[in-house]
Amino acid sequence: MTENSNPTILLVDDEEMVLNSMKSFFAIENNYNLMTYTSPLKALEDLNRNHAHVDLVISDYLMPEMDGITFLAKVKEKLPMVPRILLTGYADKENAIKAINNVGLYQYIEKPWDNEDLKLVIRNGLEKTTLLHQLEEKVREVERAQRELSEVQKDILRVFA
């Protein structure tokens, strides 16, 4: 995520009304780019095909084609650094939470959701992505510096050898 471009959020829910509501909310509150899908399979297909840049993924839990946990696990294979959020209206939360621990999700949001909570969870998730990217960048810098240093060391050794 570059500093001044708007973050992109991928949102999957088999219910169009949920997608529409969230789209409207972010249209009025934030300038996120939203990619919305009613089909998790279609979302995976697009992710695999056009390496679209995605900063955060939100998925419903109960969907006819594929449940949200399976979907998010597949997203993780593809985009390990991107925070994944589960949306759950499931009557029995416990199973969902167990699954969440197994897949290592960033957060879960319960339906009916509160927009303010949603906003906060997403903002924190995006912040996490930014920090991870910065960390990645720093690690690369350190590695580069170390490589240069060992080159210099080799040169020195060559001179004195």
Binding site: M17, S21, I28, E29, K111, P112, N115
Partner: protein
């Protein structure tokens, strides 16, 4: 036998209720969120209009704002009812759970609200009680049955007092009403299966016998005291079942 059929019915009802609650949640979530978006949009429009907006536009925005507030109250009510239904039905039927029974009492009272509203004052005197191991949805049936009876015993206006406290190794719950009371000659029969004083189609005569059975399964007791000033049911549930 009838108790078996009754509890099977309750289990089926529990599944149905949980399914319906889940089914309502998604569209409810969308409406709840959309209403919040409308509220935010109205606030933004007001800001854009500046300090001296057109009178008619301002009036229309006031109406929209009022509707949004109204919708919020309405959706909150539905969500609260759905939560109570889910809580009441508790899918984990067969599972014993360690819970605070105040939760069950609160859910039951919420579901009964329409029967009580304006007519009956609820006084809650909840004591500091420990959590107990029990079958929560079954105990909820007990609270429901006793509370419905209490509400029906009050002819016009009155009060239902729900009290909880700890007594030794047991938790006690008493539910008192200011209703017409139970005639002395009926007191010994009220827990008998099939005994009812309600008209045909109004009572099955199974409610209190089921309560008796459930409390017995929890190794507890249910007792009744009654006069023409009202009736008190006292349920005693041991901490260690």
């Amino acid at each position: 036998m009838s108790q078996l059929i009754q509890s099977e019915k309750m289990a089926a009802l529990g599944l149905l209720v949980a399914g319906v609650a889940h089914e309502i949640n998604t569209p409810m979530g969308a409406i709840h969120s959309n209403n919040d978006i409308m509220t935010r949009a109205v606030a933004k429009i007001r800001k854009l209009l500046g300090p001296a907006p057109d009178k008619e536009i301002s009036r229309l925005l006031d109406i929209l704002g009022e509707i949004c507030r109204n919708n919020e109250i309405a959706t909150d009510r539905i969500m609260k009812t759905v939560r109570s239904l889910k809580n009441f039905a508790r899918l984990d039927e067969a599972e014993r759970k360690t819970v605070n029974i105040h939760e069950g009492i609160e859910s039951t009272l919420t579901l009964l609200q329409h029967q009580l509203r304006n007519r009956i004052r609820i006084v809650k005197q909840f004591g500091d009680i420990p959590e107990i191991e029990c079958l929560p949805n079954q105990l909820n049936q007990v609270f429901m049955n006793v509370l419905v009876n209490a509400a029906q015993a009050i002819q016009d206006r009155g009060e239902i007092r729900v009290k909880t406290w700890t007594a030794g190794d047991a938790v006690k719950i008493s539910i008192s009403d200011t209703g017409i009371g139970i005639p002395t000659e009926h007191l010994s029969k009220i827990f008998d299966p099939g005994f009812t004083t309600k008209g045909v189609g109004l009572g099955t005569g199974l409610g209190l016998s089921l309560c008796y059975k459930i409390v017995q399964d929890h190794h507890g007791t249910i007792e009744v005291e009654s006069s023409n000033q009202g009736t008190t049911f006292t349920i005693t549930l041991p901490l260690e079942a």
